[in-house]
């Protein structure tokens, strides 16, 4: 009898091209997503060595990190950003790579458009020079971020040299309470296991709560697996997955679809499969979460208070907390719901999908952005934007005083003009609250889309459940 295998084991085994005696493997990469920031030097490397892109059809490029979210008909003001976008356009033309340019309605954040276009499929290996590639694991594909040298390696060979990861299971069962979302699940997970809790592991999310999430919600959960240190998160494919994928432009069609679904159904972990580590959460205990510090593990229920370094035994952790609170301009003991915000950002590869915009709009509807608050909504792709407009969400946001922007990574990492000023505090649906992440000196509180909209209308961090 063969040993029961996990979803990860199955995908890994199916992609081994070569295995060295020491366990190092050459693994095959099915899809390679490319954006303008981490690819220029990789293409330059190919050029210098006279190499080609091995599978241009399996390589999909889109500009997202640098793109302005304002009027696209004007030239890009910042010369370095303009150069990176021009370089990507030149590289994709020279190497024949699939490309969605900035004026294409399908343009958007690379991790939004991969699934949207059906490029992302169960059982695949998917890489991108971007740590949030973990997003695609929601489909039961092994998807992880790589550096630029590895981008060049994949472009040239369609493979990577890797060591197998360990298996970690995060089992979440039970009903989520009202106002509690996928974002709160993953923030709670990171709070529990820490930013290094998943290092060296691929995390499989399982349990009735995960099964009950939409694909959008599963993508949010997998997206931030990297914030728990794991390179990849996985959810086994099921009917929800197939339903989402069917009819997408690059999804299999006709007989190919039937054949694919049959194969995808073989992917879920076998009963009795072994995990190196298991973590269990009860969904009914999860409440809306918010970060207070400068690492995603600095997270608490919105009902909590700013923590006190004096309560921390470990000297290193105490020093870290003191420094975080100083950077964040917070006083220990302050109820989190009394922390005022000046900015609100709704978007990113974590929470820039249609379901996220619907959740934010439901809170914004009939309310006004508080005086002194600037709130912006940045759809994850042109198609998300279009759909939101079809549903009238843009009108809800605009009537409430939110800005309605063009798609891109925007203020998640502030490589384009969307950024916080020093000392500005932001309720953000993005993924990282690192120092300076949203602009030098900016202060980030990570929250769900509904919580971000709630903060926008009250002008402070707010428990969305109190806005009923």
């Amino acid at each position: 009898m063969t040993k029961p295998r996990t979803l990860f084991d199955k995908i890994w085994d199916a992609h081994i091209v070569d295995r060295q005696a020491d366990g190092t493997c050459v693994i095959y990469i099915d899809r390679h997503l490319v954006h303008e920031v981490t690819s220029p030097q990789a293409f330059e490397g190919l050029r210098m060595t006279g190499r080609k892109v091995r599978r241009p059809e399996a390589t999909i490029a889109v500009p997202d990190h640098n793109v302005p979210t304002t009027d696209r008909s004007k030239p890009i003001a910042e010369p370095e950003s303009r150069l990176q976008l021009e370089t990507l356009a030149k590289n994709v033309a020279e190497f024949g790579v699939t490309y969605y340019d900035i004026n294409d309605i399908r343009q958007g954040i690379v991790h939004i458009i991969g699934p949207e276009q059906g490029h992302t499929q169960p059982g695949m290996t998917i890489v991108c020079g971007d740590s949030h590639t973990a997003t695609h694991g929601a489909f039961g594909s092994l998807a992880f971020g790589i550096g630029t040298s590895e981008v060049e390696h994949v472009l040239a060979t369609q493979t990577l040299i890797q060591q197998p990861a360990k298996n970690m299971l995060i089992q979440i069962d039970g009903e989520l309470g009202p106002g509690v979302t996928a974002k709160d699940i993953i923030l709670a997970v990171i709070g529990k296991i820490g930013t290094a809790g998943g290092t060296g592991h691929v995390v499989e999310f399982a349990g009735s709560t995960i099964r009950g999430l939409s694909m959008e919600g599963r993508m949010t959960v997998c997206n931030m697996t990297i914030e728990a240190g794991a390179r990849a998160g996985l959810v086994a494919p099921d009917e929800t997955t197939f339903e989402y994928m069917k009819g997408r432009p690059h999804a299999p069609k006709g007989a190919g679809w039937e054949q694919a679904v049959k194969f995808w159904k073989t992917l879920p972990s076998d009963p009795g499969a072994q995990y190196d580590k298991t973590v269990v959460l009860d969904a009914s205990e999860i409440v809306p979460h918010v970060t207070w510090g400068t690492s995603p593990e600095d997270v608490l229920p919105i009902t909590g208070k700013v923590p006190n370094p004096a309560d921390i035994q470990d000297e290193q952790k105490r020093a870290g907390m003191t420094r975080s609170l100083q950077y964040m301009g917070l006083t220990a003991g302050t109820p989190l719901t009394e922390v005022p915000v000046q900015r609100v950002f709704i978007g990113s590869c974590t929470n820039g999908r249609i379901e996220d915009l619907r959740a934010a709009a439901a809170v914004a509807k009939g309310r006004k952005v508080a005086a002194g608050v600037n709130a912006m909504v940045v759809p994850g792709s042109g198609l998300v934007k279009h759909q939101a407009e079809e549903e009238g969400l843009d009108q809800i946001f605009l009537a409430a005083g939110f800005e309605w922007r063009e798609p891109g990574c925007s203020m998640c990492l502030a490589m384009n003009p969307d950024k916080l000023e020093p000392g500005e505090r932001c309720a953000s649906t993005s993924n990282r609250n690192f120092e300076g992440r949203q602009g030098k000196g900016g202060r980030t509180h990570l929250v769900s889309p509904a919580m971000a909209a709630a903060a926008a209308v009250t002008g402070r961090l707010t428990d969305v459940r109190d806005l009923a």
Binding site: Q41, E57, H65, G145, G147, T159, L413, F434, E435, G436
Partner: protein, 209 residues
């Protein structure tokens, strides 16, 4: 890539845990081409003030640590973003080795592609090294990749683990793409098999000559 075999140098201690790649190099510098060097971007907002003056309290600005080629860091160093710019910045600034109890996975891999040796030692060992170089900034540390040891003066060498493949690449300064291209036959055979098993993944592709 520059080869790494052995190194003896002073070391700079960095106490913070979870130092993310956004700290090592803020995203706004990722728009610049590598050819002009990334050294000046290293820890830019921790190292320099708004108007570009050095912050004297930051360890790398203190005279004894300026010429260090070894960084002794703390838990989960290089977590966060996949940006290889973090490694470029450390390398271009002059570092050739980072010692820490643990690293972000992607950062760790990126190091081996750029001649920057990441060394994992136990948290207690790394804390002890940080203590020693804090108290005696002129302490010279020897890192020997062949023997896989880190040695401080008058002390027993500390051993570290390294993947044999990446060790070999570092020692020879080898481009791993050349290595993989030697497997061209295996890759072609795999693609043929894969296309037969999962034909829907290959629909619409041009046939290879």
């Amino acid at each position: 890539m520059e080869a790494f075999t052995a190194l003896t140098s002073t070391a700079a201690p960095l106490e913070d845990i979870n130092v993310d790649t956004d700290q090592i190099i803020p995203a706004r510098f990722l728009r610049f081409p590598r050819k002009d060097g990334y050294g000046s971007f290293l820890f830019r907002d921790m190292r320099l003030t708004e108007d570009g003056q050095e912050k004297p309290e930051f360890v790398m600005n203190q005279p004894p640590y300026r010429s260090a080629k070894i960084l002794v860091a703390n838990t989960n160093f290089g977590c966060g973003s996949s940006r290889e710019g973090a490694v470029y910045a450390l390398f271009d600034y002059g570092y050739r080795c980072v010692i820490a109890p643990s690293f972000g996975d992607i950062f760790f891999n990126n190091c081996f592609k750029n001649g920057l040796l990441p060394v994992k030692l136990s948290a207690a060992e790394v804390a002890e090294i940080r203590r020693i170089v804090c108290e005696h900034p002129d302490t010279e540390i020897s890192v020997d990749l062949e023997r896989q040891t880190v040695t401080l003066p008058n002390r027993k060498p500390l051993s570290f683990q390294v993947d044999p493949f990446w060790k070999m690449c570092m020692q020879r300064g080898l481009d791993d793409i050349s290595f993989t291209i030697e497997h061209r036959g295996d890759i072609e055979a795999y693609e043929k098999r894969h296309a037969a098993e999962q034909p829907w993944l290959h629909i619409g592709e041009k046939k290879k000559a």
